[in-house]
Symmetry: C2
Amino acid sequence: MAQAAAVSTATVSRALSGTGRVSDRTRKRVEKAASDLGYTGNSIARALRSKHSGIVGMIVPSISNPFFTALVESVEHELQRVGKTLFLCDSQGDVALEARRLRSLQESHVDGILISPCHGTDSVTALNQIPTSTPVVQLDQFVMGSATDWVGIDDEKAMELVLGHASEQGAKSAVFVSSASTNSSTHARLAGFLKYAKVFDIQVAPDDILLGRFSVEWGEEVGARLLQHPALPDVIVCGADVIAFGIIRAFTAAGVSIPDRVMLTGFDDVAFSSIITPSITTVRQPTQLLAAEAVRMLSQTPADGLKAHAKVAFAPQLIIRESTSRTAR
Amino acid sequence: MAQAAAVSTATVSRALSGTGRVSDRTRKRVEKAASDLGYTGNSIARALRSKHSGIVGMIVPSISNPFFTALVESVEHELQRVGKTLFLCDSQGDVALEARRLRSLQESHVDGILISPCHGTDSVTALNQIPTSTPVVQLDQFVMGSATDWVGIDDEKAMELVLGHASEQGAKSAVFVSSASTNSSTHARLAGFLKYAKVFDIQVAPDDILLGRFSVEWGEEVGARLLQHPALPDVIVCGADVIAFGIIRAFTAAGVSIPDRVMLTGFDDVAFSSIITPSITTVRQPTQLLAAEAVRMLSQTPADGLKAHAKVAFAPQLIIRESTSRTAR
DNA sequence: GATGAGGATGTAACCGATTGCAACAACCGA
DNA sequence: TCGGTTGTTGCAATCGGTTACATCCTCATC
């Protein structure tokens, strides 16, 4: 390549990268040679020397969860704007696997890491092993005890919206269904649920907190369990839409009408929530905003290593649909 | 690191990578020093020198399409077995973006590329620019005119299953709904549809081929359009489950019963197909098998550059659910 | 005890870019 | 014409591993 343009490799580098001074004439010559040869440089060598790869790593608990795919798409969109590419990993909800992914990203010298930690406490070990030289931002979920930035939504506020709406619709009792509370999202949402159940005077028995997994199957299991009770609560509040899907399936099979016999709310507003019958009242997360802020944080100069780690919570939005819309009677 | 174990960098390399001979005593010493220091090597430098990175790139048209996320998960599972990591990219159905992703993967010197090309003909330019030194395998969709391997399913066979079943259920007329046929999946499925409609003596008018996009919205649009006709066909055959979702939504809103007024079939068997009401009769793709075969092909020594490019098609499976199960009348 | 085989380890070139420094050319004013 | 300034370009070190080759050591054999 260098000889094709009859210059040194140094000049090629300066001409193509735009750093340093190169005369217009040689620049043109180099550019022509490059396009003739289809030369694009070797990003491995570049990364080795310059210490940054133009790649941002992202780790999510499960890419089959539509909420995370939506989040990933938003992130990708943002990264495209700043000319970086995304390296996506799936931790499959497994702390050990998550740790391996983290290490592999770090070894690849990515320019930054976005992570939604799969465990509210155990994920911290791996996260703290990342040298402070690689910027890390937690997205959506977070882990206790790590000094990294976080971007997410105000889960308490979300529960205020959900229970406020349920109360308006006449709910006097509620159950809460989510994943195990080792997960920060569930933890925060449960806290908000309990707080605002009290505020809106909605009854919650100790048995009415059902924690399992973020999955359709868990929703079905809970649905079946609830159907065995003689009395249903007024509203079932779910920590994720996928759980609500399972409950709908169980109730539909049993011929129990939602919202007439019991109201139901989800969380995340994944695409399918508006398609399923009944469509689900849910909390929408502003994934575009989350992604934009997270990417912005990543590229912030971490030079001033002292800066307090930021926690940015965006406001959630309640989307009201059929599952809580009781027809006037 | 080398001095911590009191050996040369060469010995460190040999000890940790397992190549070359090292005495047990020094190997132990090096390993201890490495774990004490948390040393893992620099994969960039390694990749630069050794020409392979342990990374496999994958490009899919859309990660928000649950079929592709299922495929990605299967691939990731397979790669884990052979100790490689996945670098996932989304082409967003855009040929130009796809070309950029391809180039960026190639520059990163990935060990191989798995791609589901977003366009049946236009994707070929970018694909052919990949040097033959990087193994490329097409997965699911494919592009005309490229000499790369392909792994997918037998779409014709799938349509035989679908129409055979519909015929058994008494269908005498059908419409076909899918994406634009610039897409190889649609192309092959449409061909199969036409062929077996004839075989099973099912009527298909020229207007009954509705091609748009692989999306819920397109399904809704088609649903609305079909509802304006005085007579509905006996069965609506969709090229993807997501399209079927849209049709269900439109028909449910209009109070038209599936399967009683019209039968409906999907394609892919994504998770929600079994959750939605009515659950959808669909064609399951054996993603595990596809992924395993694709990964196997990637690691096949491409030394014999002459080998004919393989096209491996797996047998699809028909999953019968409510959307074609007419209650005895 | 000398010789040779073979295992263990070190030396140094190399992968392909980036970049500090030096060299060099062109042009200016004195 | 000469010293100085500015702008362009090349040289060579560097990033952190891998690996061909050389060297050294040990042990067996004659």
